[in-house]
Structures are given as structure tokens and as C-alpha cells.
Amino acid sequence: MNRTLLAFGSGLLGLVLLIFVALSVGSAGTGWGDGGGLVLLRTPRILAALAAGLALGIGGAAQQGVFRNPLADPGLTGVFGGALLGIAILLGATPTLAWQRPWIIPLAAFLGALLTSVLLVLISGRGNTARLLITGLGLNAFTAAGTLVIASRSNESRELLTNGAYGDWLGMATLELIWLPCLLCAVASILLLTLSRSFDLLSFGEDSAQANGCNVNRSRRWAVLLTALAAAAATCLVGQVAFIGLLAPHLARGIIGPRHRLMMPLSGLLGGGLLLCADTIGRAAWPQNPLSAAAVMALLGAPLFIWIARRSHE
């Protein structure tokens, strides 16, 4: 119990500090500006990073829970790629329609993510790590290629889609653009948290979960649907960013143990913190031409992840 309080307390405190730092750095100079003008300017970007990180942390934990596999992550399994491909197809087909209503782009991302998730479940079957990762690898490569093909053929959307593939959309954040994806991130995250009991039961295998009263098929369907929603909403905010869905649940499990009721919220908290941290480092180091959150995340996250993977096998 004390460990739980300590973990969440220090996590929240760290996040608040991080938000203060994030509000203070940027291309217009350090500090909050006259009358806090810069704060208003930077708020949407920070909100977007927090919401996307939250959704990725919880979505990653959910995908790992449902596949019972610590290597499942929307970034590795192609679900992210599917979301971006959905957006790319929409922009390629009707570049003007996409911007007419705020829900059109999130819907396209969701359909792309959902289609990839369903393919992943159908092809990879149950339980087998190698098959899951190989299927994910294939889906990832295919969706990335599809996005690039569309980007290279479309003059209007080329830059936008390329930036999305590099996870560099946070810089475009305005309240008008982000409110719906942020809301969807929150909704998907909260609904996924209500499945935490099912994920706990699934830990002991499908037979055992079913015997203990979990409707395995229904839980799995909801988890797949909501993870796709979380990944799609996060993609609309950031573009593609790997490692958060992998790293945040790993860290959370290491800190607080694998019980999903506690681990999933902490994973969301850490996910939000990690993404905001990555974005802030990119902006602080090169204020005029910030490095994308995804690039910083990969630079810092990959070694950290390898270190964790090594440690967990000792």
C-alpha cells in the first residue's frame, strides 16, 4: 500500500514539475512571457503530449495484457502504422474533406488501427510470441510502405504525412485540432482501465480466466477495439512514436508489480510523463528547430529498454 502511494505520489509530483519545465521552454524564449502569454501558446502541445502518452501507456499495457506478452506494443505490432495509413488514405483520396469536420481524421485513424488490430489477432492467433512479433513486423512494414507511397504521390499532404511518420505532429497542436483526439485518448484509457480485472484473470491463461468468470472472447474484443481507439487518437496527436507502449508498462510493472488494476494507471502516468519529457528535451535542446518527440523517445528509450530487458533476464 505504501509502495503504491509512493509510486503514484512521486509520479504525479514529477509530472507537475515536468509540466512547469515544459511550459517554460520553447522557440519564443525561456520563461512564461508577459502576462503568461507563452503559457497559453504552449499549453495545447503539452496537453496533446500528455493525452497521447496516457493513451499509449495504458493501451500498451492493455495489448500486453490481452496477448499475455511483454513485447506487445501498438508501435511494434503495426496498429500505429495502421492508424497513420488510415489518415494517409483519407488525405490521399480527399485532401479537402479531411479538414471539414473535426472527427473525420480521427475516424480514419481509428478504422486503420482497428483493421490492423483485427488482422493481427486473426493471423497471429493466441499466445505465441514469435508469431505475434513476425505478424506485427509484417503489418508494420506494409502500413509504413503504404503511407510512404501515398505521401510520395500527393503534393498537398507529402510534408504532413512524412512528419507524421517521424512522430513530429506535436508542433502543430492547437486547441481546435487536439480537443477531440485528447478526449478520445481519455475515454479509451478510462474504458481500458475498467478491463483491468479481466487482464488479471487472463494472466493465468484463457481456460483459467474463463473458469473464473471472465468472458474471454468479449473481453478480448473490447480490448482490441479500445486499444485501436487509443492508438488512433494518440496518432492523431503525435504521429508515430514507438517505445512508449513498451517502456511505460515495463517500468510500471517493475515499480509496482504486475497487477493490472495498479499497473495500468501507473503505466498511463509514466507514458504521459515520458512523452512530455521527450518532447520537452527536443524543444529545450534545439528551440528553433525542435527534434521530434518520437526521435528523442527512440534515442533515449531504446537503450533504456535494452537495459530493462537485460536486467529482467538475470
Partner: protein
Amino acid sequence: MSEIAVQALGVSVDFGGHLALDGASLTLPFGNVTALAGANGAGKTTLLRALAGLIPQATGEMTTAEYDPRTTPPAILASVRAYGAQAAYSAWDFALSDFPFLSSDPVLCDAWLERLELADLRHRRLSQLSVGQKKSAHLALTIASLGEPFGKIILLDEPTVGLDIARQELVQQACLDLAFAGAACVVATHDMNFIRRCHQVAVLSEGRLIAYGTPATTLTPAIIYETWGVS
């Protein structure tokens, strides 16, 4: 509540052309421990899983505590029967102290962890436990999920495999006590000592039920030879 815990009439299970269970029929009362015996691949696990409601494609008539296990929602079924799988599998490295929180009845789970002599190991993670200790922890979780045993059904697949002699005795005694408290306990096992302590034994061979009754009358030299090929 009727006195019949489990009833199966001509239950068959076809796994893609392989008939794992071939028209098995049996009736089991509450208050008894029934052993399912038979050689490897005889259909013990399949029968247990079918009775637990884990094989929706099973054919024939089946009732588990007055429910058809194939069509009853998992949550309702879970309130009247528990099922403990053979392998003590866990995807995540839980601490033993997490187990009560994973149970529907934390107090009872704690009590069973203590009864199976795992209380001193609470701070350990599953990866720091032996096979037998892990198995016992899963058993505690399974048994605790039943709550009050009277009128409930507990289906255990090889509960004593991998346990030392002391823990085997604890588990066998636990099954007998659950039956004494009014539960129906069905145990698939190869352990002859355990089988001889059960109230009944059902012998399976190649998916068919070939003998059923008290261990003393059922385990004749002829049946033992037919089932295991040993005398």
C-alpha cells in the same frame, strides 16, 4: 438443490477428427471426491474441461450444478464451480502477496495459502518459487474462488503433480475436507495412493469410460491391466 452435482450423458468431444471423448456418461453426487484415472491421452483433461464449460463444441447432455456448462455465462458458472488447470501458468511474475487481490475472496485465498504452507513465502515472486510451490499457490487461488464449498463443484487437473509428499498429503486432505463440507470434488490424477483414498474412481480409456465405482471394487487387476498395460 439436487443431490446430483455433475451429470454427463453420452458426452463426446471431437478435436478436428480426433475423438478425445467418446460418449462418456457419469453421475457424480455432492459430498464425494471422484478420481478420473486412465493412461496419458485417455481423455481425463478433456472430460474435466468439458464439465467446466471450457469446450463449447462438446456434444451430448451435460449438467454442472444444474447448469449446462456450454451455454451458461462464465460469471454464473464461476459462482458454482472452480477449475484448476494442470499447468501452473502465469504470464506475469506476480508476488504471492498479490494472489489474494487476484481472488474473488481475498480472505479465503489468504487462508488457503496458509493451509498449503505458503504463508512464509508471501513476499516472494512466482519466479522465486519451486514448481510445487507455484502449483500449490494456484491451487489456493482456485479453491478460494469457490467461496463456501457446500453445493459447489471443484474440478482439478493433476493437483498433486510436482508436489513433495507433505504437500501431496495437504492437497489430498483438502479435497476430502471440501467434499466433507458438501462440495463435489473431481480430480484427474495418476497418483494411485490418491485414487485409493477417493470415494469413487472413473476409469477412462481412449475417450471412453470403462469402469466406475469405489476404488476397491473398480481397480481390479483386469481393469488395471486393460488401462495401463501393467499387472
